[in-house]
């Protein structure tokens, strides 16, 4: 069975090599698109297998768990792999129009595919040390992508991004080392069995908090988020989009995985911390966005506030709340990546992302205006778009267990999100351009239009579809939440998968 688990990983690596070899030809960009499409097919095969058989696990190299290298996919992992491939495909197509010849020659597409492989690996691994390795794969390629082009702003943002991520890495590594010292295992399923047998549970909580800091930095939660708005608005728009969609979400995924599977020994303490972190993340993110006057900076701060919602779902730890978190993850990746792609087209047409210096998009590019409104309203939680259901499930989950503060914060932050989105609308789309530029879509060549707008339109369509037919997605998310809360299926699949 293990080839199902390995293909979504091997395809991006193979594509990366091919794209690197073809980096001096335009074909290099199309290899990346084709590879992403193949990865999407492979990930859908994996998702179907998970839906039919439950948790799928495989041991690489033939050593049985917990000694071998475990790859494992439950519903959460599988859906994250699919969504990674979808984002990858959309951005790869967008990048064919955006990435310059020089960036391609410097290996943009190869780095991009390695990034996707790292993200996929992090979702699929069943071993905490391998999770560290996949994080590094992802980090190294993201470092490269972030500073590719070498403008001073990118170097400046890069310094902050690199240093804080190195610190997070060190926290992660030392927590892993200490956990191994206490339990003698690195396999996550095995760890979940061994943790209750450790004598000193207080030490386990200490290690759990180290993991929380490490993943919290990656996920950009309060108060560890400062690197994100310092760097995400500097690179190419394709890079921003894939970072915004996927990278912080790997942190959220790791938090969900670790704090449901391994560290559920003292939820009264750990998940209360998570709850307050979640509320503060939502509020600071949205307030930060309110103070910004740049398209991408506003969107960057909104990533932070949205991360808070997902952490809230994890912190409440009821079946409905976790389902909400899973649903939110899927919805958010699509919407957020899309908004950054729209920002890229807006910048091409108007010449800037500073809101004071642009305008006229509604009059001259109504199609782009529509394609902005769909993800923007979805982000704010307007019915009938995907964001409405995501927020609805989470608010209902907090009301169900009578957690009024969390529900109130979630609703208030939704309102403030509308404020930010209308600010972008009111500055970039509604008024005429201050310099009298007419940002018509016809300023782009036909090929550019097609390559830039197709991914945006496709992602917007997905947002609408999830919004109009939410039931199958919510049912799926509930199934994923049930698998997260009842660990037996996961543990049996990994430890029982011994031949």
């Amino acid at each position: 069975m293990s080839w199902i688990l390995v293909t979504p990983l091997l395809v991006p690596f193979a594509t990366a090599i091919a794209a690197f070899l073809l980096r001096h030809r335009p074909a290099g960009a199309w290899i990346s698109v084709a590879g992403s499409a193949a990865a999407l097919a492979a990930s859908i095969v994996l998702l179907t297998a998970v839906l039919q058989q439950g948790v799928v696990a495989g041991q690489m190299g033939g050593w049985p768990a917990p000694f071998g290298i475990t790859l494992v996919a439950d519903r959460l992992s599988a859906v994250m792999v699919v969504i990674t491939a979808i984002t990858g495909l959309a951005v790869a197509l967008y990048a064919t129009a955006e990435v310059t010849e020089r960036m391609r020659y410097l290996g943009f597409h190869a780095l991009f595919q390695v990034l996707l492989a790292g993200v996929t690996g992090a979702f699929l691994t069943g071993d905490i040390f391998n999770l560290y390795v996949w994080f590094e794969v992802m980090l190294i390629s993201s470092f490269g992508l972030l500073i590719l082009g070498g403008r001073p702003a990118q170097i400046d943002g890069g310094i902050k991004y690199v240093t804080i991520n190195l610190i997070s890495t060190i926290f992660f590594l030392s927590a892993t080392g200490l956990l191994y010292g206490m339990t003698g295992s690195l396999n996550m399923a095995d760890l979940s069995q061994l943790i209750p047998r450790v004598e000193n549970q207080g030490l386990i909580t200490v290690v759990a908090m180290m993991f929380m800091v490490a993943f919290g930095i990656k996920a950009a939660v309060f108060p560890l988020f400062f690197w994100l708005p310092a760097s995400y608005h500097t690179p190419a728009f394709s890079v921003s989009a894939v970072f915004a969609g996927l990278l912080t979400k790997v942190g959220v995924y790791a938090l969900i995985r670790v704090f449901t599977l391994i560290f559920d020994h003292d939820t009264g303490y750990t998940h209360t911390v998570l709850l307050w972190v979640a509320c503060l993340t939502m509020v600071t993110g949205v307030l930060g966005a309110a103070a910004q006057m740049d398209f991408r900076k506003i969107l960057s701060f909104h990533i932070i506030s949205q991360i808070g919602y997902m952490i809230l779902g994890l912190a409440l730890l009821t079946p409905l709340a976790l389902a909400g978190a899973v649903f939110y993850l899927v919805h958010h990746i699509i919407v957020k990546a899309n908004l950054f792609l729209v920002a890229g087209v807006a910048e091409r047409l108007t010449g800037s992302t500073a809101l004071g210096r642009i305008g006229g998009l509604y009059t001259h590019a109504p199609l782009l205006a529509l394609l902005f409104l769909i993800p923007a309203f979805s982000l704010a939680g307007f019915p009938p778009l995907s964001g409405f259901w995501a927020k609805y499930v989470l608010v209902k989950a907090s009301l169900d267990i009578e957690h009024w503060i969390a529900a109130a914060v979630a609703l208030a932050v939704g309102l403030l999100t509308i404020f930010s989105m209308t600010k972008i609308w009111g500055e970039a789309f509604w008024p005429p351009h201050p310099d009298g530029v007419e940002p018509k879509l016809s300023r782009l060549t036909r090929a550019e239009r097609w390559r830039l707008l197709t991914p945006i339109a496709a992602l917007a369509t997905m947002t609408v579809i999830i919004g109009l037919f939410p039931q199958p997605f919510i049912t799926f998310a509930e199934g994923a939440a049930a698998q997260l809360l009842d660990k037996t299926a996961y543990v049996d699949a990994v430890l029982g998968a011994q031949e």
Partner: protein, 120 residues
């Protein structure tokens, strides 16, 4: 032996934190290097220290001897060293680029990506 290593790790981390609190990015990086080495030692120590028994299975036996060295923490440390080295090399080049293109190593003066608001 454990005590000695623990003290060494503590000293290394203290020195690393001191360096990392500096505003100069290069000093920060050297702190980072010390810290990653401290963590490598930490993994090594947390994986139990043993004396003089190699982690081989003797001929005829099915298991290694009771007090044999555990090879796994060493494998982890090896991986971490390799990754840490790569990251450090990248970070050094990045800092060099920052010095040439931003003209400073003071982290407080790196405000290109986030310019300060003009004060009225």
């Amino acid at each position: 032996m454990e005590t000695l290593l623990s003290l060494t790790i503590g000293l290394l981390i203290a020195a690393a934190v001191y360096l990392m609190l500096a505003r100069n990015v290069l000093r920060f990086l050297f702190g980072m290097l010390l810290l990653s080495n401290a963590v490598n030692l930490l993994i090594f120590t947390a994986g139990r220290l043993t004396f003089g028994v190699p982690s081989f299975v003797p001929e005829g036996a099915k298991l290694p001897p009771e007090d044999a060295a555990n090879a796994l923490p060493q494998a982890l440390v090896l991986t971490a060293i390799v990754i840490g080295f790569g990251l450090f090399a990248f970070a050094l080049v990045l800092v060099f680029r920052a010095y040439t293109s931003l003209g400073t190593l003071e982290s407080a003066k790196m405000r290109v990506a986030e310019p300060e608001e003009e004060k009225a």
